[in-house]
């Protein structure tokens, strides 16, 4: 299975869109392209199972190396393991749902869909690349469309938040670049040359002081993408003023780039520093979880509620990674997948409500269950999944993170885990407040009565995401088996390092 | 102190005196005259150094040409008033400080620097040596720079004409852009 196909499809769709005329053609091409991509991701999963069944124990499968620029040892080295397949599946799901939800964007529709596909291309490339430089390249490819999507099609103070988002993400990627270069210049293969290749670097152990310098750069850089505590302020503004599909992509995919990067680049390549700094990561993650949850309680705009809750949920990811136990890292990856699906569904539901009632203020909404039963039930499902109801993916992911973080014997980490557990109560409070006010209760203003329920494309998008959430929720063991080998190898690197502190 | 040394210091004082006056007088015309005297002083210095050819060139080009050119431009722009504005106090203080500091610094450097004076036969300038070396192509001849210089002068002349030519303002089409 040639992995570059995963990149060629979005590229091909993007070009096809450029030549299409009118909204109808553009959206059909985009939909076909993304569905093909979804099928391809499914085929990748099947092929992965086949290879694992045949007993292929190598960490990365379907590897392909192509020289990009010899003098700097830049290679287009791509390969996939369990974790990246999970991420690719998540991206494929969210992309199809995103395109379906933005079915009626008349304004500059060609460019809109082109940018969406470009964003997904960046994400796919990021998840399959095993060369630090290619990884960074695709990360940058993903940042630019976000700025344009929010700046042009956004609502509210869109250009301000687009600017803020772009600048902070650029700041983050600058830190990542420093981290990557730091790693690059401290690696020396047998032939004595530096290398960007992830797998080779993983074999060498970089000296501790150097790790201690460059680990914060890489981790904070990727952390900015996952709304790590002090650098999360782009999330509420960015999401609130983004169009529905863009906020789905932003929360669903781009926050996962950060988490995946933290895991693959920062923790995997610099394990000693990961141990040394784990208490800071956990401190920031716990603050993000609790602080995000409490801040959400006070929000009155639906999108802000979901944005702040994404900060809180991504806090779980960082907590999982910070704890450095096998279960907690598996939990972090599951939380990434589950949060991606759930927040995409939540934004889709909010987008549907907004496109009908033209207001996102919780105070002005009420009793929508009577007018729009389908959308309200989608909203409730998304809410219940985010507060960790069993049967949905939220529960399995959060429980794995909690169980994993409890394995870490440190007293203070135990306190952090208890605080993280306490956040499920606060999450329940703000989700029910939001759902209670918008969905249930008497009808606030009369003209909401004659609102239409979801059209076929919105129904299909919501069902697709709900299927994803329920499959992970009902049967998490398939996801665990997928992720298991990947985390084992990361843990072997981490385990090898004695507990430094 | 030989007569030549005294003579040198006289010339030096004359040059610096006229230089300072040229730079500080308020009347523009008087400043150009002081400049004229200063250049003449420099020519005298060349004579003192027994570089007669150079002194001649100095007088012809500088005194005869450039100063005259400057005086012409003063006449052309006389309408803006003979009296020059007072220099800005802040700037003059700063520049005075900078100048004094610069001069002191470099003079101190020069004093410390061990110049290896020429011990061979004394220097004497023969005009035909200049001529031969100027147009010589082989041993360090200056033919190439000589040609370049001539082209440069030509370009400069054409440039000045183009810049300074008085365009007849085509009244009708050009809208009167206010600056």
């Amino acid at each position: 299975m040639n992995l570059t196909l995963l990149l060629l499809f979005p590229l091909f769709t993007a070009f096809a869109i450029l030549f299409a005329k009118g909204l109808k053609q553009v959206r059909v091409i985009a939909l076909i392209g993304s569905i093909f991509q979804l099928l391809l991701a499914g085929k990748l999963l099947m092929a992965y199972y086949q290879i694992k069944a045949q007993g292929n124990q190598s960490q990365m499968v379907f590897e392909y190396i192509q020289n990009w620029y010899a003098p700097l040892h830049l290679q287009y080295h791509i390969g996939v393991d369990g974790i990246s397949i999970a991420m690719i599946l998540l991206t494929a799901f969210v992309v199809v749902a995103g395109i379906l939800v933005s079915w009626k964007t008349e304004q500059l529709s060609k460019e809109f869909f082109f940018l969406l596909i470009l964003l997904s291309l960046g994400a796919y490339g990021f998840f399959i690349s095993l060369d630090l430089f290619t990884l960074f390249f695709f990360l940058e490819v993903a940042v630019i469309p976000k700025f344009l999507l929010i700046g042009i099609w956004g609502s509210g103070k869109k250009d301000n938040s687009a600017m803020k988002l772009a600048l902070m993400l650029m700041g983050g990627s600058a830190l990542i670049l420093v981290g990557i270069l730091g790693i690059y210049f401290n690696t020396h293969t047998e032939a004595g040359i530096h290398t960007f290749d992830l797998l080779l670097i993983a074999k060498m152990n970089i000296a501790l002081p150097i790790q201690k310098i460059f680990f914060p750069f890489a981790f904070i850089g990727f952390g900015v993408f996952t709304a790590i505590f002090p650098f999360h302020t782009w999330v509420p503004d960015g999401h609130a003023s983004a169009p529905t599909a863009a906020s789905m992509f932003l929360a669903g995919i781009s926050m996962k780039l950060g988490g995946y990067g933290c895991l693959r680049v920062a923790t995997f390549l610099m394990p000693d520093a990961a141990h040394a700094y784990s208490w800071i990561i956990i401190l920031l993650a716990t603050i993000a979880i609790i602080y995000g949850a409490f801040a959400t309680m006070m929000q009155t705009d639906l999108k802000y509620i979901n944005a702040y809750s994404s900060i809180s949920h991504c806090g779980f990811v960082l907590l999982g990674i910070g704890m450095l136990t096998k279960t907690s890292i598996m939990g972090a990856v599951m939380q990434m997948v589950s949060h991606g699906l759930m927040t995409a569904l939540f934004f889709a539901a909010i987008g549907m409500i907004y496109s009908r009632t033209h207001t996102r203020m919780v105070a002005q909404l009420g009793g929508l269950l009577k007018a729009m039963p389908f959308i309200s039930s989608v909203f409730v499902i998304a809410g219940l999944c985010s507060l960790g109801l069993p049967g949905f993916s939220g529960f399995a992911a959060e429980m794995t993170v909690f169980m994993g973080s409890w394995q870490n014997p440190d007293k203070w980490f135990r306190l952090a885990t208890i605080l993280a557990c306490a956040s499920i109560v606060v999450t329940a409070v703000y989700i029910l407040r939001a759902a209670g006010q918008t969905i249930m209760g008497p009808m606030v203003n009369k003209e909401h009565e004659l609102l239409t329920d979801a059209s076929w494309n919105e129904k299909f998008a919501a069902i697709l995401l709900i299927v994803g959430i329920v499959v992970v929720g009902i049967a998490p063991f398939w996801l665990i088996d997928l992720i298991q080998p990947g985390t084992e190898i990361i843990m072997s690197k981490l385990g090898a390092v004695a507990l430094v502190k | 102190m030989s007569a030549a040394a005294i003579f040198f210091y006289l010339i030096a004082a004359f040059i610096l005196g006229t230089g300072i006056l040229a730079v500080t007088t308020r009347k523009i015309f008087r400043a150009s005259i002081w400049l004229l005297f200063s250049l003449i002083g420099i020519a005298a210095l060349y004579f003192w150094l027994k570089l007669e050819f150079l002194a001649a060139v100095q007088i012809i080009v500088y005194v005869g040409g450039i100063v005259v050119l400057i005086i012409f431009s003063i006449f052309l722009t006389i309408k803006s008033g003979d009296e020059m504005q007072k220099p800005l106090l802040v700037r003059s203080i700063f520049s005075a400080l900078a100048v004094v500091f610069g001069a002191a610094f470099i003079m101190r450097l020069l004093q410390k620097y061990p110049f290896k004076l020429n011990t061979g036969k004394p220097f004497e300038l023969k005009v035909n040596d200049i001529g031969t070396q100027m147009l010589d192509t082989k041993n360090f001849g200056y033919l190439l720079p000589f040609e370049l210089i001539s082209m440069l002068l030509l370009a400069a002349m054409i440039g000045c004409i183009v810049i300074a030519i008085k365009h007849k303002e085509p009244e009708n089409n050009l809208p009167n852009q206010t600056i």
């Binding site: - | 230089g19 250049l39 420099i42 500088y62 020059m84 100048v99 610069g102």
Partner: protein, 104 residues
């Protein structure tokens, strides 16, 4: 001839150079700035000539340099005056403080 040490001549040229510099910094009239520049160029000439005479008596490069400087100074003065006249036409004054269009 050699009673006067080289450094004294260099002092002279340095002093002349900084007088020119002072004139360049403080004079508000463009033409006087031009004059100041002429002074600075002349001080450089003195330097060349002095070095040639005192340090490298057998060669003539210093002299050639100062000759070329003189010619270039002439060309430069001509171009400068052309610009000044043009400025005068557009600004009706050659005060350097007025020509500040190229600011922020």
């Amino acid at each position: 001839m050699n009673e006067v040490p080289l450094t004294h001549i260099l002092f002279l040229s340095t002093a002349l150079f900084f007088i020119g510099a002072y004139g360049l910094f403080t004079r508000r009239n463009m033409i006087t700035m031009l004059m100041a520049i002429e002074l600075m160029l002349n001080s450089v000439n003195i330097n060349f000539v002095a070095f040639n005479k005192y340090l490298y008596a057998d060669k003539l490069d210093g002299i050639f340099f100062s000759i070329f400087i003189i010619t270039i100074a002439a060309a430069e003065a001509a171009v400068a005056i052309a610009i000044i006249i043009n400025l005068y036409r557009s600004h009706h004054s050659i005060d350097v403080e007025d020509a500040t269009e190229l600011k922020y």
